[in-house]
Subunit: 300 residues, 2 copies
């Protein structure tokens, strides 16, 4: 199948806005809009996924990691573009599955495919650029202050454990859920946010540097799933996954008024777990001890 | 150098909007804006370029092919994101050169780097998503009607000849010029447009299908550079480069009132060469004979 046939096969998996709005011209047309945000993130075969993932998984995850960036700014997804690097062995069937996994997630969050590109490549790669609109001010990494409480929007460490061969945590690794509704609800109640893609310690360090604050984590407060506790055998063995394992794609937020935040989030049906505090100074402490060494997760 | 160091080295080559506007948060912030367009295009090593290109060439071309898509819609560039796939042997020096080639072109056209992504990859790849604003209605592929005249914004075939080893046409292949000012000026005077990236015959076919018209090309009217005529030895030998060679990145436009168009473009200092006409029906004829076979240029 030639380039144009592959494009048609992929695009057919999406409910796309009619041309000239979406694919079909040299550019996609974006209507007049308020302040928006844009992000780009790529998945590369052998680095971010293997063929042990289904093609639906790959399509889902490629979009999910971008939507997670929108979630951390408190934005609502609008459009995205997809640039595919396709090795020779990729068939129309593979592309159909990849498109299906992606389009199901896109539909669930109201994100529209508006354009893309296909090229040959030795490794399968999916580079997505996604945009969202803001209903007010965005959440940034830089708004936190000493005294703010730190919360996460879900359990930590599952995705990293899911990397270690096929196990009950594999779905967390292959099908991460972008916490968009959490981000949109939390936006007005938080002072800063980041999504946990590189690992809690690493991403918390980014937030601390941008906000010029220090952080104290309470290891006993880190939310761990029962599946991770089972898999790791003990809370102690599970902690490294939660602290330095990447790809959880939960949101890490700083909150000035913790009680109001907890009440509002609980009322809206969201779990938000307090994991520590921000202080003046620099660096991240765990149970009072400065964290050192490799803070984050590096892809192979 | 680690991922964050490589990102810093690359970003340092650009005059970037200060965070939170540009890089530094999970997304870039885009201010409220009127109708806009967005496009994405990737260059992959071994497919679209080799290491015979300088890294400045690669950086220039990766952005140029995207800006050319904006040009064909009549848009004015605003922001772009860059996703880099970097093989292990890529050094900070390579990235600095790549960034320099890209930033010089970005600066010339007022395009701002607002975000990006870096990942390991077996092949060097640069995937850019670029956006521009429209001052009125966009130029589409679909607005042309039978009777419209066809024009191109510059000579054809140079880039294809420049692929055949080092020769005087190599710069046309490695450093294409996006015809942004032409597109912005021509927008109100044209009924349809496309940029010539896959070859004249192929891209004209796209325009004809989108507008539901046929086209007649006059081979004697195709603008060929002296350098291409010298290189090919004769006009006859040069024509295949012009007809089916890709990557010229000139604009192909359809015009309802040719005299007014020519006068307005000449007054604004643009060369616009008429190369044929649109008719009712389907297909593309060259000197009265239907074109068949391989119409376009395919990357290796």
């Amino acid at each position: 199948m030639d380039e144009f046939g592959l494009i048609d096969t992929f695009v057919a998996q999406f409910k796309v806005a009619a041309s000239p709005r979406g694919p079909g011209d040299d550019c996609a047309l974006i209507p007049r809009q308020g302040p928006s945000v844009v992000t780009t993130d790529a998945l590369v075969e052998g680095i971010h996924f293997t063929r042990q993932f289904t093609f639906e998984d790959i399509g889902h995850k490629a979009l999910a990691v971008n939507l997670s960036d929108l979630a951390s700014m408190g934005a609502k997804p609008t459009w995205f573009t997809v640039a595919l690097g396709l090795p020779e062995d990729l068939t129309a069937t593979h592309l159909k599955k990849l498109g299906r996994g992606m389009s199901a997630l896109a539909k669930a969050h109201g994100a529209e495919l508006v354009g893309g590109n296909v090229t040959r490549s030795s490794q399968l790669s999916i580079t997505i650029t996604a945009s969202g609109t803001l209903d007010g001010k965005p959440l940034l990494r830089s708004g936190a202050r000493p005294g703010d409480a730190l919360y996460v929007s879900g359990p930590l460490g599952d995705a990293a454990a899911g990397l270690e061969g096929l196990n009950p945590l594999t779905p967390a690794q292959r099908r991460p859920t972008p916490h968009l509704a959490f981000g949109q609800h939390a936006r007005r109640l938080c002072s800063a946010a980041i999504d946990v893609s590189d690992g809690l310690a690493q991403d918390l360090t980014h937030l601390c540097r941008a906000s010029r604050v220090a952080a104290e984590l309470d290891s006993a407060a880190l939310p761990l799933s029962d599946a991770l506790l089972d898999y790791a055998g003990s809370r102690r063995s599970a902690l490294p996954y939660a602290l330095t394992g990447g790809e959880d794609y939960v949101l890490l937020v700083a909150v000035r008024r913790p009680r109001a935040f907890e009440a509002a989030m609980a009322k809206a049906g969201f779990a938000a777990e307090q994991i520590g505090w921000l202080r003046s100074g620099t660096g991240v402490k765990l149970d009072g001890v400065p964290m050192r060494g490799r803070l984050g997760f590096k892809h192979r």
